[in-house]
């Protein structure tokens, strides 16, 4: 019995030691885990967050506006506003009408009759059949030139602003707002240019409908092209379209900047499916 008891005691001692070791191990593990968790909390504090930047508006839009304005100005000054190819039985004569066109220019009388009152026999409803007078060739180019100059100034100012912005960074909101204001101004000025050139383009409809009246005045088999107004109208439409696109881009950028996804909400906690903060 004694031997057994002694043996038992020895066994129990060894098992005790083993159990104690196991318990210590378990405790160590739990403490390590706890420590790790605590440290992790502090690590969370030190997470380096990257800054979300927003793309600046199209920086070359000002330069592009200046280039378009220069092209417009070149067309206004040097391109013919009206091209007439008058075909007769024997030959065909080409007449090019530039800006500031007036009665004193040495052009065929039949062509001049298009812009003044030719209807000696008619009921005096209208002075002409195509809706254009000599004044239109002086007033419209003036308006368009002024508009182009304003567009150029806008482009220069915007380019200078963007250059300054490169050195002295303005707030994104200010840059976007100014960019959109410039776009609004460009749209309005382009519309003025468009409306000034539209009346020349509208002449085509009148030529089509009133051709019999025009024929009586002496012009037969004539091809009339208002080259500069068409180009100006197209360029003005392009500017309007571009301005609207820049508006859309700015909107998208602002949307990206100011809307934060729900997953990115930094200080909201969810516990058991309920939002806490």
């Amino acid at each position: 019995m004694r031997n057994d008891e002694y043996e038992l005691d020895d066994d129990s001692l060894t098992t005790e030691k083993k159990d104690e070791r196991k318990k210590e191990k378990i405790l160590d593990d739990t403490f390590k885990k706890a420590k790790f968790l605590k440290e992790k909390k502090t690590i969370n504090k030190r997470i380096v967050k990257s800054i979300k930047t927003v793309n600046r508006p199209f920086s070359k839009s000002g330069i592009l506006l200046i280039i378009v304005a220069i092209i417009m100005l070149v067309f206004v000054e040097y391109s013919p506003w009206m091209y007439i190819n008058q075909e007769t039985d024997k030959s065909s004569t080409i007449h090019l009408v530039y800006r500031d066109f007036n009665q004193e220019e040495e052009i065929n009388q039949t062509v001049l009759d298009l812009f003044q009152s030719p209807c000696n026999n008619c009921s005096n409803n209208s002075q002409n059949y195509i809706g254009l007078t000599f004044d239109d060739f002086t007033s419209s180019p003036k308006i368009i030139t002024n508009g182009i100059i304003i567009l150029m100034i806008l482009g220069i100012v915007f380019t200078v602003f963007l250059i300054i912005d490169k050195f002295h960074r303005f707030l994104d909101e200010i840059v976007f707002a100014l960019h959109s204001l410039f776009s609004i101004a460009a749209i309005i000025i382009s519309l003025v240019i468009l409306m000034s050139s539209i009346k020349f383009i509208g002449t085509y409809f009148l030529i089509y409908h009133n051709w019999s009246f025009i024929e009586i005045s002496g012009i037969k088999n004539a091809n009339i092209v208002f080259l500069t107004p068409i180009i100006l109208a197209l360029l003005a439409l392009a500017i309007i379209r571009g301005a609207i696109i820049t508006f859309k881009i700015n909107f998208r950028e602002m949307e990206n900047k100011f809307t934060i996804d729900k997953t990115e909400e930094p200080y909201s906690t969810y516990r058991y499916g309920i939002k806490f903060r």
Binding site: F31, K41, N121, N124, L171, F251, M254, Y267, I274
Partner: protein
Amino acid sequence: MKKKTIAKAKKYTIWILNFSILGLVVTSLFPLISVPENDAVKEDLHFDFEMMKKSDNYEIYSLVDNINTINLLFWAIIILGLISFFCITYLTFLTRWYLSLLTIISTAIIIFSVLLVIFENNFMRAVANNDFISLSLVYNTITYVHIIFLFIILLLICSIFYNLNIVLDLGKHIFGSISKKQLLKKSNNLQEDSLLKSKIDEPITEPPIGINKKIEMERLQKQEIQKIDVKAEVDSYSEAKEEIKPVETTSEEKKYVDNEIATSEKKNQPGPFGHVKREEKPIELVRPRVSQSFEDALSSAIEKKQGEIGKKEQKKPTSQETIKDSDAILKEDTSEPNQIDEVEKQIEEPQTEREFIPTEIIVKCPQCTHIFTIKKEETEKIKCPKCGKEGIAQ
């Protein structure tokens, strides 16, 4: 304003701009009226806006006023459309008074569109009333003025949709804020009422009737979870570390367990060298008081480890089993199963449930890689002190 509403408003504004520009262009482009001529050419002479302005006939010239007004209205709508587009782009993100401003602008656009319809109709009526003048025909009975009228109608429809879109959102804002205020008032009254307060403390399954159930349910759930949070906070491991000393030092417990095991073994012994048969009786222990949380954590950890060890030691009989069993009994006596589960969950998934809320955030500049700290409130407008780079924290 919702993202959807902003997108819709943007879409309608672009349509309004397109239709108004088209209307303005078409008004100056197309011939509008025609006058019969009976002299050299017996045909209708067509007049566009420019030609009408230069006409010597007073009846024709009198119609110019209408067209002038229409043109002015188109211009006004274009400018308003541009302003509203500007407002949508900026004010929706920056300020709070955008909705009322956009409502005013959209209402103005509707008014101008209606005026356009009226003036266009007036023009058509004036032409129809005049026997001498008629509208320029495109094909059969379709006139150029009808095309302009179509654009005006489309413009009106777009402006109505635009206005509705914004007004509905404004209405939701107003009524939503009113209902929120009412609910807040009600909840304040509830808090004052002690009877209802006791009801709130009851389990979540029985929410109080009367006010918005969803909000109340959420509130109660939050209360319950906050209680668990408080428990979890009390469970700080630092406290546990301090309190472990008495557990390690107490020899009473071990002695008691050993004595109990020895007595039970002696009782179950059949003979001097026979196999030990042990009766599994629960041993009641008088343990020194340790914090509940630490006990829970410890027991859960031990349980886990013992599960692993138990598998290995299943083959080994005698005294090891007794110690194991005593531990198991200890565990059964001291800890409640639900609490252990909760603590285990908290230990296993601490990151998902607990989130640290920093007061300061360390930020790295993407341009110059300068690392600096910012306050919690300054996450939306960060400026690098070194290079001046601006942005917001992701």
